[in-house]
Amino acid sequence: MGCLESLNYEVVLQGASFKECRDYVRTRCSEYYDVDPGFRIFEKAVIGVPPVSIGLDGDTITFPYTKPCYGTFLVRVQEPDEADRIRRTAPGRKK
């Protein structure tokens, strides 16, 4: 996700496993959606082991971000338009 640097993001988990990220989103976020890898967040395909859980708390999105050398980060970004788009396009709300 090359555009992550252009966003005002907060790192929630660093060097986490995909499972730890999924568990965090499912237990800590007020709502979450399970998506397949390739689902677009900020126009970039998400990397992960399906199901990839994306969390929403109001306008704040919590999602995994994976790089080969640094593992998976769970990051949080406040962006109303993207949160709304995820609510409209993600396949199914789980919570």
Partner: protein, 160 residues
């Protein structure tokens, strides 16, 4: 571009992970060489450091061919712009599992996971999606993984 149609032959993509484990580059070149002998054109996808390790090791491109940025590779798969006949993914950590799962999910193809590193068994056991696993304890010495490739590559090329 649908890559499997390029030059009319079969193409394999070698999805490299972080080059922090020394055997990755030598195994990638070895695998690329053997794929070429079997008439399969290798394409290497990786981040900048992983690509440069392979490019510098093979300056005249005897074994490698096209290189693709890893992010571009994933985007092209997600957009349906690119498909290959074979997907070899280098896995030595959790991120490698995530990339392999993503390739499988986007293509529906069976991914061949080359699993190595100190914790290769733990990593292999964590893979629960369809994946042909070629796993060995290989960190500095590539021979254990090379032997496994020699054993299974003919089957992989014939059956996947």
């Amino acid at each position: 571009m649908i890559r499997e149609n390029v030059a009319g032959g079969k193409q394999a993509v070698l999805v490299l992970g972080c080059p922090q484990v020394p055997v990755q580059t030598s195994i990638a070149l070895y695998l690329a060489a053997h794929l070429r002998k079997k008439g399969v054109v290798p394409v290497i996808a990786g981040n900048r450091a992983a690509r440069l390790n392979a490019e510098v090791s093979d300056p005249d491109r005897h074994y490698t061919g096209t290189f693709i940025d890893l992010d571009r590779f994933i985007e092209d798969l997600a957009d349906g712009k690119s498909r290959f006949n074979y997907y070899f993914t280098f896995i030595h950590n959790d991120a490698g599992i995530s990339y392999a799962a993503t390739v499988h999910s986007l293509t529906g193809a069976t991914v061949v996971g080359l699993i190595y590193g100190e914790h290769f068994q733990e990593v292999a056991d964590a893979i629960d999606f369809p994946c042909e696993k070629i796993a060995a304890h290989a960190v500095h010495n590539p021979m254990p993984l090379k032997k496994k490739i020699d054993e299974v590559l003919p089957w992989v090329v014939s059956n996947l």
